[in-house]
Symmetry: C2
Subunit: 300 residues, 2 copies
Amino acid sequence: MNVTEKPLRERAGKYFLELQTRICAALEETDGKVGFVTDEWSRPGGGGGVSKVLEDGSIFEKAGVNFSKVSGILPDRIAQRLETKPGDFFATGISLVLHPVSPMIPAVHANLRYFEMDGGNSWFGGGTDLTPYYHFSEDTIHFHSVLKAACDASDPSFYPRFKKWCDEYFFVRHRGETRGVGGIFFDYLRGEPEKHFSFVQSVGDAFLDAYLPVVRKRVRMEWGEKEKLWQLTRRGRYVEFNLVYDRGTTFGLETDGRVESILMSLPPVVHWRYDVRPEKGSREEELVLILKEPREWISG
Amino acid sequence: MNVTEKPLRERAGKYFLELQTRICAALEETDGKVGFVTDEWSRPGGGGGVSKVLEDGSIFEKAGVNFSKVSGILPDRIAQRLETKPGDFFATGISLVLHPVSPMIPAVHANLRYFEMDGGNSWFGGGTDLTPYYHFSEDTIHFHSVLKAACDASDPSFYPRFKKWCDEYFFVRHRGETRGVGGIFFDYLRGEPEKHFSFVQSVGDAFLDAYLPVVRKRVRMEWGEKEKLWQLTRRGRYVEFNLVYDRGTTFGLETDGRVESILMSLPPVVHWRYDVRPEKGSREEELVLILKEPREWISG
């Protein structure tokens, strides 16, 4: 395999763009009602992206899949946050968040990215995680199992490390809860770029297999106003995490990223009522208890 | 006037608690449909508060008025943020946010607070500001005029300084817009404690006069689904400001404040649709243009 025929930045960008196309095609087919609207944009400092959004679908209330490939000069304060030196930079990635209509289908987030600084300092980062509003253990186990297999293909140490990292990263500190039931999260994968690119592709290729079976299993389940209201309230936690803690979001906003593409991740409709507490012994309480204490979903 | 009969911290706390009662009574009378629910809470480290919430009213979709009086030992990292030294602290204040049902009635926020550190370092802070979703110049002028009069009674330099501070503080940087049409904002009013307490009382006493006439003027105006959707979308900016930039919110969340009381400020229902842009020449666009560039609403 002639992996050096093109620079890694080109191959990574090409992979992410193709992955966006592939994922959007599968989501459109699954939804069946409406398609993605494509919005191409360019960045004043260099590069640009393609934002794809589907709204008011039969299955997806809002689905955003964003590709970007940007470059330019990294300002000092951003360099500090990235633990690197100011200079020319290049970044490409795909980021998606899906908010289903049904409270029985979990929301999902995935992100894969490649970053390069002049001087050869480069790394991969990313991950994917599931946010159910009603919890079904078999869904969570399925999601984690597919991710574990994708990790194991590259390095058996990856899944346990990146699963733990995910639980720590998606922690809504002021609520004392994780955002969802996790998945994997990784960042600053430096050195061995070909191994890491191969790993990132495994994760990207596994995404639809990890998520779509869960959608298909839950899509015909019944739900009513009570369940919908619970979803809208829990979506508030999603917003709280993204705006208060998420590095991708705060970094994007601080560095004058494209606001609409960054905030595409926010749910379409959200409720904040005062002090909503689930009933003892309810399915709503079951979810909260699971989010209070991350657990291992698959045995070693 | 025997102003020294009781310590300032006692008098300030008493004033804020009475103001909460007075404001809630007036809001209940204005709304006419539902009353406030009272939630008393205590803080593990010392002190506590009274949160009052009205939901699903005829005029107010959500109204939260919070009183707190807390004390204890200030952790190092909070002392740093407050530009003071670690040690015993005392803080009391009132904070309110009103989210009306009608998109024609502006949302409003007010906060008054007194902070004291051992060693005699103490200060007042606060302000109030208006967030319309459809703009009526006469409402904004009325709101600012009442606040200017309240300021002028203490110091003619206050209104121009605190009006400007408000425009700067409530700036949603990533959107390039202010949250609303401003009002006044002030912090760290040190020295001359009696003068500042008197000023803070003027502002507290003026709040209902500044806001309720606007409610009464707009409450019978007609609106439809289009206007409601615009309000729900604009409320997203309110959330973005509060969770990303607001010091009261981020400080409260970081210092393990009472989450439900802090996040009482968030609107009851919020929309985030992709890239919503007002039509050229519309009333929606008029609002956005006003928020892009703060202006003087009353002549000196």
